[in-house]
């Protein structure tokens, strides 16, 4: 069977599975829709959280980025796992005890203010849409390469599937599809990783193969060999970082605190029966996540080694099939600068501007011709980072079914996260904006209908983001974390750990944190991208890491303003006392 056919089969049957689960687990009440009825087992919730969490960025882009930036890639590994410690220790058990449906619900009640609730809704929508844009683009990439359909068609198919199970099933449908998606994506990630680890090092465990000797008889370890190869080609060594320590520190912190403040992850902990389940569930979630996150850096190093081996100094005519396949999607390009018909790979951008634009003709060797100017660098090959995980099985020459499996895994990762995000967006709108603010008189049935409509609208907007993507996947996603760290995390933490924190403080803090972080990112990314270098940054902190400063600003302003204004009413202080002890936790209820 051809790879193409296998891919259709794998992706198609996974879709059938998700839709089947959606029909089986239709939501009958708002409680089903928002928190899956509140009776999800901690291990099941851990697995669903892991799928919710591991997005197209984790599955498709992360190993690719680490592959190209080596040691600096640690920020993603540390940031996107360390945040779970904060989540488990500082937020999840208390929010579960609070026992309502949404994150703005907590902020609104704890800060006894509709304004605080609305600010939280705005922060949530900002964060979630930034994040969902990356997911739909991920779906588009997978479809355009593996199913050879237009990106637009791919996104529309993806939207239709998400629509089915999030609009029908709400949190309940999403929870059980996410469990299935976790199984698909982790299997799809591990199988090629194990194959490649055996090929390169004879060690079947990628986490160990990563540090083992390469089996080419050189006696060098994978990382030593990679360091040497890259230095020869003019890159910096793989195990040496090039970002400044303060920037690495700030980016890691922004990703960690952002993780802990992400509404679509927090809301998953509202679905377990007890406070102690919420704690345990966070542990299971991270354990499931760690399987992929400790494999990713191994995949990254193997992929880079493989890439250099197969591409550098290879005649274009002898290039493997995958090279042409990816070239036709525009994610790989080659410009024969020295007219020798051989691909030279090295440091520096191959093209100017760095993204390829094709003129529609093919050159003497059959390559797609470019309108880009050449750069002075010897590098002739453009490779998009996003393709590393997807192309890895092909680069390593693995069988067709592995490639098909990776395609299904990539789609599972993107869809599971997109669904989780769309759910928090729709519940923030139907529950916090409509039921709690604008239309308090609506019945539960009407609220459920509004929730479904909001989910449907959110799916369409997310689809537009996928068809007209703002930038590449992981970069967009990284900003969502900065925004979450700077806006929601401090309000949640202070709400639990400080009885003195009041509405004035929380609102001022959230607004300043959000506006500061958003402005800084927008300035360097969109207004004046030419100034986006370390010399112009505040204390050498890049836009990716600025959320950390935004968060510190938020904390200081919230604390100072709270001190200067009236303390919260007694009933709110009693509420804080109440959420601090686990006993008497009820399942999430309407109130």
């Amino acid at each position: 069977m051809s790879t193409q056919l296998l891919t259709y089969l794998f992706v198609g049957s996974s879709f059938a599975l998700y839709i089947g689960i959606a029909i089986w687990s239709r939501a009958g009440s708002t409680k089903d829709f928002y928190v899956a009825g509140g009776g999800v087992h901690p291990v099941v919730n851990g697995m669903a959280t892991a799928a919710d969490w591991m997005s197209a960025a984790s599955f498709i882009s992360m190993a690719g980025i680490i592959s190209f930036i080596g040691r600096d890639g640690s920020v993603y590994l540390l940031g996107w796992t360390g945040g779970y410690v904060l989540l488990a220790l500082l937020l999840a058990p208390y929010l579960r005890k609070f026992g309502r449906f949404t994150v703005p619900d907590f902020i609104g009640e704890r800060y006894y203010s509709q304004a605080a609730r609305i600010v939280a809704v705005i922060c949530l929508i900002f964060v979630s849409f930034t994040y969902v844009a990356g997911q739909m683009r991920g779906v588009g990439i997978v479809f355009s390469r593996f199913l050879e359909v237009e990106v637009t068609t791919g996104v529309i198919i993806g939207m239709a599937v998400v629509f089915m199970y999030s609009v029908l099933g709400g949190m309940k449908g999403i929870t059980y599809t996410q469990v299935a998606q976790y199984c698909v994506l982790i299997f799809a990630y591990m199988v090629p990783a194990i194959f490649i680890s055996i090929m390169i090092t004879d060690n079947p465990i990628p986490q160990l193969g990563f540090g083992a000797e390469v089996n080419d008889g050189s006696g060098l370890s994978v990382l030593d060999k990679l360091d040497g190869v890259l230095l020869d080609l003019g890159f910096s060594a793989y195990t040496e970082g090039s970002k400044s320590t303060i920037d690495v520190f700030a980016i890691t912190a922004a990703l960690m605190f952002g993780t802990a403040g992400l509404p679509h992850v927090l809301v998953r902990f509202f679905t377990v029966p007890k406070v102690s389940d919420a704690r345990l569930s966070a542990g299971y979630a991270l354990a499931f996540i760690a399987i992929l996150y400790t494999t990713a850096p191994a995949v990254a190093s193997f992929a880079r080694l493989n890439l250099v081996d197969t591409v550098h100094n290879t005649a274009y005519a002898d290039a493997p099939e995958w090279f042409g396949n990816w070239e036709s999607t525009g994610l790989i390009a080659w410009q024969d600068k020295n007219d020798d018909g051989i691909m030279q790979y090295g440091a520096g951008a191959a093209l100017s501007p760095s993204k390829p634009s094709f003129d529609g003709n093919t050159g003497v060797h059959g390559e797609r011709l470019l309108t880009n100017k050449s750069t002075s660098s010897v590098n002739e090959v453009y490779i998009d980072r996003d393709i590393m995980v997807l192309a890895n099985p092909e680069i390593a020459g693995l069988p067709g079914w592995v490639i098909a499996l990776v395609a299904a895994g990539g789609v599972a990762a993107a869809l599971s996260t997109a669904a989780g995000l769309l759910l928090v967006i729709s519940s923030a709108i139907s529950h916090d904006l409509l039921k709690k603010t604008l239309l308090p008189k609506i019945t539960e049935k009407q609220e459920l209908l509004y929730a479904r409509i909001a989910a449907a609208v959110a799916v369409c907007i997310a689809g537009l983001f996928g068809i007209y993507p703002p930038a590449f996947v992981a970069q967009v996603v990284a900003f969502a974390f900065g925004l979450a760290a700077a806006s929601l995390f401090p309000a949640l933490l202070l709400g639990i750990f400080s009885k003195r924190a009041n509405k004035e403080g929380a609102i001022a803090g959230m607004l300043v944190g959000l506006v500061f972080t958003f402005t800084y990112i927008a300035y360097f990314k969109f207004v004046a991208p030419e100034l986006n270098t370390a010399d112009h940054w505040l204390w050498g902190i890049s836009p990716e890491g600025i959320g950390t400063i935004g968060m510190l600003l938020n904390f200081s302003i919230a604390i100072v303003v709270s001190r200067l204004t009236a303390e919260p009413p007694q009933s709110v202080q009693d509420l804080v006392d109440n959420i601090r002890i686990p006993s008497g936790a009820k399942a999430a209820v309407e109130h």
């Binding site: 360390g82 540090g211 990382l223 890691t252 704690r279 345990l280 760690a290 009820k586």
Partner: protein, 107 residues
């Protein structure tokens, strides 16, 4: 009458006192675990990483290993340790949620 309300008050204060001590034990536990969290990630993985790179573990430079492998394993262990320790604190102070969870979830 007055005697009864006195006992009520004492019970209330002792309950509030109990909760306060529970919360403080919780904060102490958090402090310890977050200290470890900080040391393995920001400490060993970032600030001390260059210095740690002179040592090696499983074929990796030590600082690099912490940043790309080790810290993640420690994170997982930390959360399970926390869940366990909190469970025993809950029991010690009698504020746990393991009494009749079924009844509670029906509410």
């Amino acid at each position: 009458m007055s005697a009864k309300s006195n006992t009520d008050e004492t019970q209330e204060t002792s309950q509030a006192d109990n909760q306060k001590r529970y919360w403080q034990s919780n904060l102490r536990l958090l402090g310890k675990l977050l200290f470890v969290w900080f040391i393995v990630s920001f400490g060993c993985g970032i600030i001390l990483a260059d210095w740690l790179d002179q040592f090696s573990i499983f074929g990796f430079k030590l600082g690099f290993w912490f940043a790309q492998q080790g810290a993640i394993y420690v994170f997982v262990v930390l959360i399970f340790v926390y869940a366990r320790q909190m469970k025993s604190l809950d029991r010690k102070f009698g504020v746990g949620d393991d009494k009749d969870p079924k009844e509670e979830s029906q509410l």
